[in-house]
Amino acid sequence: MALSREQLAQRVAQELQDGFYVNLGIGIPTLVANYVPEGIEVMLQSENGLLGMGQFPTDEEVDADLINAGKQTVTMATGASLFDSAESFAMIRGGHVDLTVLGAFEVDCQGNIASYMIPGKLIKGMGGAMDLVAGADNIIVTMTHASKHGESKLLAECTLPLTGKGCIKKVLTDLAFLEIKEGKFHLLERAPGVSVEEIVKLTAGELVVPNHVPEMQFPT
């Protein structure tokens, strides 16, 4: 079975480490905040100028001056700090954020990522994504492995305009967890009940498959 949105978030959350500063992109990455393992502390960075993002506010707590990068109202966690956009991107571009999680339309086995623009269709802009992929060392891309029509999104070469070049090393899809190195995808784990054959069939870029590919583990 392909992973649900919640399972994708749960699997990413297993990569969190105690003391990590983390930037979560819009969509599935945002859900990761719901699955921080017990006993560890992480601090969420929101690139519009907040380190230590808390949960959504109650009706009484809503403050128009306190939003996240998705423009949703939020609260601050204990120990939060506030700053301007240049400071925020100094953290990001200076490599101070420990983990970045973001979505993508396509990735390829050179570590390129396309996530912000479909020419002729969707032109909304890159927001902070180009800064995040260029500045972070530890990035996890979350995405679906293939389109609804079964076309692979893990390619030999991205077809859409790039968000970043040679910057992606880890990809979590609804079918598999993969690493990118030496110009190849390497299969690390598969979603529960998903066969290696299915993953191979839906991966267009060169894929290295070890003899044993463990299933992802989820707490029951």
């Binding site: 001056d65 301007d84 925020s88 032109i123 902070g128 260029a134 305009p161």
Partner: protein, 234 residues
């Protein structure tokens, strides 16, 4: 105005000198921390052919989006322009020129302009459409592109409090691009929720020193929320 007193009493005075074809830098992230009444004044004034530099272009009916109704914007420099149908329509039809700029690069372009830095190298955008036509250089094994800073003829800014000397304090995430915008305008106009006397703001807590600020006006703010998300009360 006298001495260091930057306070003006009308929006007309606040935006006087803004002319057709000028470059306008605006603070704000989405509709958070936007100088909403200064934008309304520009709409009323009817200034045309503006190049507007701001992270976003508001929504169809709020923020900078209202300047699109009468086609006052010739070119938009922004990082994200979703959630605005009229913007999309004008962009797709070619009526509006758009320069998509990564958010961190945009903040740095303003900061650099204010600090007298004409251009800077950044890894952001290397190998992407953003790099087209720009100089690139390899430094210590990494690739960077040269990005030029952006100076505005005017900068419009929203702060929480100012003293009459133009020292500014921002509030929560309404700070965003405002401090950089304040430094990057030849004329910087700031709209605030409260004006106090010099000495009332703790000098250690001032985010933007008054040297960057030319005009201060007291405003009433609607503060529209784009995505109101809540959790149930306990």
């Amino acid at each position: 105005m006298s001495g260091f007193n930057k306070v003006v009493n009308s929006y007309e005075e606040a935006m006087s000198g803004l002319e057709d074809g000028m470059t306008l830098i605006a603070g704000g992230f989405g509709l958070c921390g936007i100088p909403e009444n200064l934008i309304k004044e520009i709409k009323n004034k009817g200034t045309k052919n503006l190049t507007v530099v701001s992270n976003n272009c508001g929504t169809t009916n709020h923020g900078l989006g209202i300047l699109l109704h009468d086609k006052q914007v010739k070119k938009m420099v922004a990082s994200y322009v979703g959630e605005n149908e009229e913007f999309e329509r004008q962009m797709m039809s070619g009526e509006l020129e758009v320069e998509l700029t990564p958010q961190g690069t945009l903040a740095e372009k303003m900061r650099a302009a204010g600090a007298g830095i004409p251009a800077f190298f950044t890894a952001t955008g290397y190998g992407t459409p953003v790099a087209e036509g720009k100089e690139s250089r390899e430094i210590n094994g990494r690739h960077y592109i040269l990005e030029e800073s952006i100076k505005g003829d005017f900068a419009i800014v929203k702060a929480w409090k100012a003293d009459t000397y133009g020292n500014l304090v921002f509030r929560k995430t309404a700070r965003n691009f405002n401090p950089m915008a304040a430094t990057a305008g030849k004329i910087t106009v700031v709209e605030v929720e409260e004006i106090v006397q010099p000495g009332e703001l703790d000098p250690d807590h001032i985010h933007t020193p008054g040297i960057y600020v030319d005009r201060v006006i007291l405003g009433n703010f609607e503060k529209v929320i784009e995505q109101r998300t809540t959790r149930p009360s306990a």
